[in-house]
Symmetry: D2
């Protein structure tokens, strides 16, 4: 018999329903005691669909303050993250917030400051790639020194397609944000500058102002050059690439295994088209780790509010580079506070 | 709030401890209420190590009959499987039994007959490969007709190494047994005959009577030729291969993804050396599925007692072929009873 | 200015035209001075098509005896190989003969005996795989001891398709013959026995007596087990596989490099459908080596009459196994004469 | 009997000796009638080593004007290319010149103008990648429209190591030059601008002014973004990569095939360390094609003086970008003259 952690989820949309399902069916020793959605009836409908029972609050403050809620999971819309996270922190509850932490660098810094008042980390941001076994393996290889000091990194983040409203800005703050986050973790380095290239636009978007693909180039303080090709309508699938080139060798992120077919004069393997399938086990491991920590009243060990802040500052500069036709933007990210270094 | 299933585990050795850990930390909605091991104190020691609390029975009959045990998991030594499974069935409890189901075909047939008295399936055998996503994908491709009718299959089951006492017999009943089981499921076909080749022995075993590698060749009733190279001291790693060759193409089981390195004039990826790591997620999915069924009082849907029986009959014939210097053994496996066809 | 070797080609059919083209356009320092074909006018027609001039003999004896012919290349039909090769040897001329050397083991032994009268090797048989860079690399790795003593080999020889008249016999003497030859060279070992499995027949052949695929299993004197899947109507392409499993590791023959495509949710590379393209550079290297030797009046260094004999004896036994429903045939191949060991 | 083309080679150093060997041993229907090297005795020594006979001229003008020389091959040092090529053109002889065509854009333009006086192409520049089967295949795939309009390209040109004197400039004009050349051919597009990134320097070079790696980013007139990582001391091998990303998919240049090994818990293939081995067959095909054309008095069809000019202009701009700390340099390359379009 092991301790059960009582969780409340705020925002039962696409990702919220998914996490609700995960926390009740896949993660051990969790009890989802409460849910809340801004749209009346929406949360209850999802509970019914999933065959679950939980309190359904109309007001997220009530959920946060319910004594039956030990831990808050925020999967509300991006605009609401800031308020919810601040409320959870103020209530002294552990909180998991889907990325992005907040809408801009300023809001993120507020959260960072609020969290520090508690004297220990209370918050984890949902950058799940830190938990993907292939990224963990890649990080271990880099940290082991096997490839020597990293000098360059070559990344791709391709989506099969996105609707017309997914514009250049969203390609940065919803797509490239993952590489912005994961690369500084992987390389143990901070960014010095950022520039966005705007190659020829694909014909698969009508609006001439939407630049797709884009190439984000970042340089770190130690001089590592990181190139991220962001292409959200590549047509062929969801494809993630990350090669890290060091002084002694190269390490390359693998892809998911697939049965190989030899047929019709082709050797082929499938490429996923769904990003959720690509990182499904990362999400599971992420929550297992988060719950393992908070269930024992320990600070979460995953991506922090500071990581959320760094990502926000960097993404803001990328957007400015696009605005200025690809001009390089210098970044002035302060050293990570001691609070956020283990 | 979802229903919690109460599980008792009999046999807390290597694999039993692992399943105990899995059922308490990784599988949702399970409560391990009782354990039992033939060695006094052993089960309690493992509970302590894993930070768990459960009843610790000295006699497995008591565990089976405890009203706090809804489901029995049998991870005792192979010799004890038969008795435990029969007792669990007689007590009318759902039971998960690690493979092999029993020591020989006769015992397996007894279990089959006992189970049928209950009018529905009560038992699942731990052939976890049925749950490995790559095998499921391979089966789906075969079943979809994409490669046409299967004609041949080419398999490898290599272990990095085994101690001297792992003899030719164990290579069949503990190693080849997995391919014997998984191939008839994958191909929807029964075996007609079996023959074991005894190639040159590797220098990595001293006892001249131990044949390693061995090649098991089976022919199915429809004429599919299946070759399984069994090599339990291949030195280089744990390696599983399964190519199915059909009238229109070939489908090949993938391996686990690993970071690729370019270093010292080599492009390389790691090969696992530990079989548990290779099929870890298969074990998780296996138990998640087993619990999902029995928690709702439904028959388990995984490998059945009949599968256990087929594997036992076939392995027995393989051993006879070895004894007779590689002579082909005809098999006379009856049609699967209607009871075991969904 | 380097010496030019004068070559006469007998048999200007499919493969003869190809070698004519190769010897005049691709191989340096060769002059094709004479050609001959049993069909009147056929050789001249090919000369015209390729923009070449050479003497066109009606009778191959005249070609062989022409002082302007230093070296004989025999690309006549299989039935004629024996006579032509014997005549070339008796005339004391170096000779390259396409495989098979002759129609049966008896004829091959005659050639072996005739050649030995000359006190040195005069003949090379066209088993071009000995010159394929990937096979040479594989042999070097085996010979270097990197994988330890070979214990098993796993081969495939698949053709995309063959006409109905390509029967089980031709699958052995024209297709499997390549593996029969190359494996004893690769493994430095002789065959002890051979057996042919007859799996379920593909639907892509009408005649029920034609068994396709077939699996040829050979055991060598040292106990290496070699499995060759022969499938001449596999539909998907021309595919050659050769894995050699040793005591310390496995070495795998690579395939030809192809541009990879990521498109339509598939990662794919092309599989060749044409065997000539697969081994084109092997043919070039083969003739370059043959000419390099004979141009300096040195014995050819490639596959010998003895190799032709071994292949013939082994193929004969394979055919007998098919006839006898898959019975294992013991082989009694004598030690290679000292004459054929360098 | 086919026509023999009489070739004179100027410059019998590293690459000159190699081409001498190729033209006499590997390429059919060529006679190397004359050689010349600025170092007295050097050419004769190489002739002797290779067992060849040819006239050995002290003065390259004499070689060019010898009636026994139909075609000039220039493999002299880079500084001498311009003079030799101009002299060969003025003498009305076909000429093959190793890359670079000349030392700068101005010299290249002189050659372009001289050649046009002859009313037809007389010259081919040794950019051998145009003949590498994998690049040809990649170009065919792009031209076929299978990946749609190209939008980005991602290239690597890594050498295992270079001596200290191989500085940032040489990394551009001897290494990156190949990608500069091959990409405009592959993409059928001209360059609009170029920029060189200077990432963190590898520890494997002492001189702090030598930047290694460098990343060359070029944009074409149609907006294609090309990134070339140039790293001439990557330690692990000679590695060439070229991915072309189009609107509908991605095409990736393959590497050379190598036997795969499974050993010591690693699956591995060798990476070449020698660039000559990587492109050996490209060199053979290049000369076979060049000779095939000029032997029939046809203009060569390979890389032209114009290609040499484009490469020179672009490389000059790259050097300027390095000088200016990575500033983007606009290029103003005129349209290719009609003379150079087929
Ligand atoms: Mg890139
Ligand atoms: Mg096999
Ligand atoms: Mg096989
Ligand atoms: Mg790159």
């Amino acid at each position: 018999m092991t301790k059960t952690t009582k969780v409340g989820i705020i925002g039962i949309g696409f990702i919220g329903s998914d996490h609700l399902n995960r926390l009740t069916k896949t993660i051990a020793n969790v009890d989802v005691t409460a849910v809340c959605d801004i749209v009346p009836g929406k949360a209850q409908k999802v509970l019914d669909e999933q065959g679950l029972q939980a309190k359904d609050f109309a007001d997220y403050h009530e959920l946060i303050n319910d004594p039956e809620v030990e831990v808050v999971v925020c999967t509300a819309s991006n605009e609401a993250h800031y308020e919810i996270v601040m409320a959870a922190l103020k209530a002294g509850k552990f909180c998991f917030c889907e990325k992005p932490l907040a809408l801009d660098a300023k809001q993120c810094m507020d959260v960072v400051e609020e969290e520090q008042k508690h004297g220990r980390r209370m918050l984890q941001v949902g950058f799940m790639r830190h938990y993907a076994p292939e990224y963990v393996q890649l990080k271990n290889i880099i940290d082991s020194g096997q490839i020597g000091a990293p000098l360059m990194a070559d990344c791709r983040h391709y989506n099969q397609t996105q609707p017309e409203e997914y514009d250049s800005t969203r390609s940065i703050i919803e797509t490239a944000i993952h590489e912005i986050d994961v690369m500084h973790w992987l390389l143990n380095d901070d960014y010095k500058n950022i520039k966005v290239y705007l190659p020829k636009q694909t014909r698969h978007v009508q609006n001439k102002d939407i630049r797709d693909p884009q190439i984000v180039v970042m340089e770190t303080k130690s001089g590592i050059n990181i190139s991220v090709e962001v292409f959200v309508r590549c047509q062929y699938g969801y494809d993630i690439k990350c090669d890290v080139i060091g002084e002694e060798g190269v390490a390359e992120l693998p892809t998911v295994p697939q049965v190989a077919l030899r047929k019709n004069a082709k050797y082929s393997t499938e490429i996923l088209t769904d990003w959720k399938a690509r990182f499904e086990s990362a999400y599971d491991i992420e929550f297992r780790d988060f719950i393992a920590h908070v269930s024992e009243d320990k600070s979460p060990a995953g991506p922090s509010a500071w990581d959320g802040y760094v990502a926000a500052v960097t993404a803001d500069a990328a957007l400015k580079s696009i605005e200025e036709g690809g001009k390089t933007q210098d970044l002035d990210i302060p050293e990570s506070p001691k609070f956020y270094k283990e």
